[in-house]
């Protein structure tokens, strides 16, 4: 394992019965980058994330996340890695601060530090006004922002975001993308972003991986993939064109 890569997998495979959800996935993610994980619904993106977190056991293959094997030492991985599931849920009868406090306690963050971090991250995601409202009254966008705050409360080195902008309005989407971008640039966190909203990925991701039917068909910086697939002459490409080309080939 080189020190540079925060996530490394080798021939990672997950089978559910006869169906192969993830097929011999080999990828590396460098520290500090924003990695976009693309693919149609059901391509195996979430399954990959669950395996990297140690929530699901791979059928075969190896993985290392911040230097630990997620299957053998899930505890170590979960201490340093945050995960925002798609459609994150909260305890609706508690307010935002109580929700955050509960997660902080589970992460053994001392009380005084917790309160400071809650104030800071609620401010960052723009929820400090609504911090004492019951989460049940929150809108979709607020819930998503609270989800981000909850992941950040333990100040992880690596964050998995599963469809973080789905269901958000254009303004909410923009703010979410700005926040994700600033986490990477200012806080030096590594972000692993799974999405099928290509224009957004194109805006903020350093590198992308395209997964179709459980197979990683392409990986690299967007310009590189554009050169490879669309030819050198084209300057005015979109990620969508590249993606559709891979998709048709698969």
């Amino acid at each position: 394992m080189t020190g540079q890569n925060i996530v490394e997998t080798e021939e990672l495979t997950k089978k559910y019965g006869a169906q192969t959800a993830v097929n011999r996935l080999t990828l590396q993610i460098e520290e500090g980058e924003i990695f976009g994980f693309l693919g149609p619904n059901g391509a195996g993106k979430t399954t990959t994330i669950l395996m990297l977190l140690g929530l699901t056991e791979p059928t075969s293959g190896k993985a290392a996340v911040i230097g630990f094997d997620p299957t053998r030492e899930p505890f170590k991985v979960k201490e340093k890695v945050g995960y925002l599931p798609e459609n994150v849920g909260f305890y609706d009868d508690m307010d935002a601060r109580q929700n955050l406090r509960y997660i902080a306690r589970l992460n053994r963050i001392p009380g005084e530090v917790t309160e400071k971090r809650i104030d800071y991250w609620l401010e960052m995601v723009g929820l400090s006004e609504e911090g004492s409202k019951k989460v049940g009254t929150y809108s979709k966008g607020m819930r998503q922002r609270l989800g981000i705050a909850e992941v950040l409360i333990k100040e992880p080195k690596l964050i998995f975001l599963d469809e973080p902008t789905i269901g958000l309005d254009p303004d909410g989407t923009n703010r979410m993308l700005d926040l994700i971008h600033s986490l990477s640039r200012e806080k030096k966190m590594t972000l692993f972003l799974s999405s099928h909203l290509l224009d957004q990925v194109q805006r903020i991701c350093d590198r992308v991986g395209i997964m179709i039917n459980g197979k990683l068909v392409a990986m690299g910086p967007i310009e590189e993939l554009a050169k490879k697939k669309l030819g050198l002459d084209q300057e005015d490409y979109t990620l969508e064109e590249i993606y559709m080309k891979y998709f048709k080939e698969a």
Partner: protein, 321 residues
Amino acid sequence: MHGILTIFRKELGDHFNSMRFLLISALIVMVGVIITSMVGMAIQEELRGMAKPTLIFLLLFTSTGKLFSFVQFIGFFGPLLGIFLGFDSINRERVSRTLSKLVSQPIFRDSIINAKFLSGVTVIAIVLVATVLLISGLGIRLIGVVPGVEEVWRLVIYIVISLLYISFWLGISILFSVVFRSTATSALASLAIWIFFSFFVSLGASVMADAVAPVSQTASGVDAEMLIRHERIQRVASLVSPMALYSDATTTILDPMRKTTRTLILMGPMERFSMSRFQSPLPLLESILIVIPHLISIVAITLLCFGICYFVFMRQEIRTV
């Protein structure tokens, strides 16, 4: 350990804040107080002008009065407390999508199920102890008798047995909350099991006994051997129900005059003879010895139930969808 403690504290808070818990514990306390006042006043009436006999205090719990005794009430109604505390413990988190978040925190996965079970057991213990203390206080005022050391011990053992018994039902309902995705389904399934054991097992037992060993009236009277077989089969079959186990165990513990859990038919002539000769109450240890098989069975089914629950939960795939 840290994870268990944090989840345990939250669950405990949730239980105490929930309307469900408030309603059912209020009901148990209320019925307990009503039964005690009725029984207490009846005892008071009977004792007027008489020397106070020993071990009368326990009658508060075992005397049926006009309706039913407190022990019978807990045997029948206690399971509901366990079911209400557990039927949505896992699937509620699944529905609100907090389970996948919880398991991605640095805690062991079994902390979740352990903490949920433990918090339920704690709530049950608090309700039981509070109710028994309330009844005792009321009883002391009503009949003017202070419980002796042995009576207190018997009550303590009674509380422990009740705790195990209700925890068994808590285990059943948590198991269903792991297996079924919908909270309504798990609640209904738990209630169905409860109704099955409380009504149909005893009914089924007599039907089964009739089928296997029919007692027929012949010209020479009833065949004694057949009658014993009939009785024995019915007893064994009814012990399938945890309710029968519980009521046998608790009535023997709380009633020192009860020297066996068997019915009169199943006793030999010598046993019957000694029962009628020796009228003094049994010492506590002897009472325990009589029901030790019952106690072990209750412990076993409770542990088994939680074990299955733990196993199923640990093997389940945590998918968000």
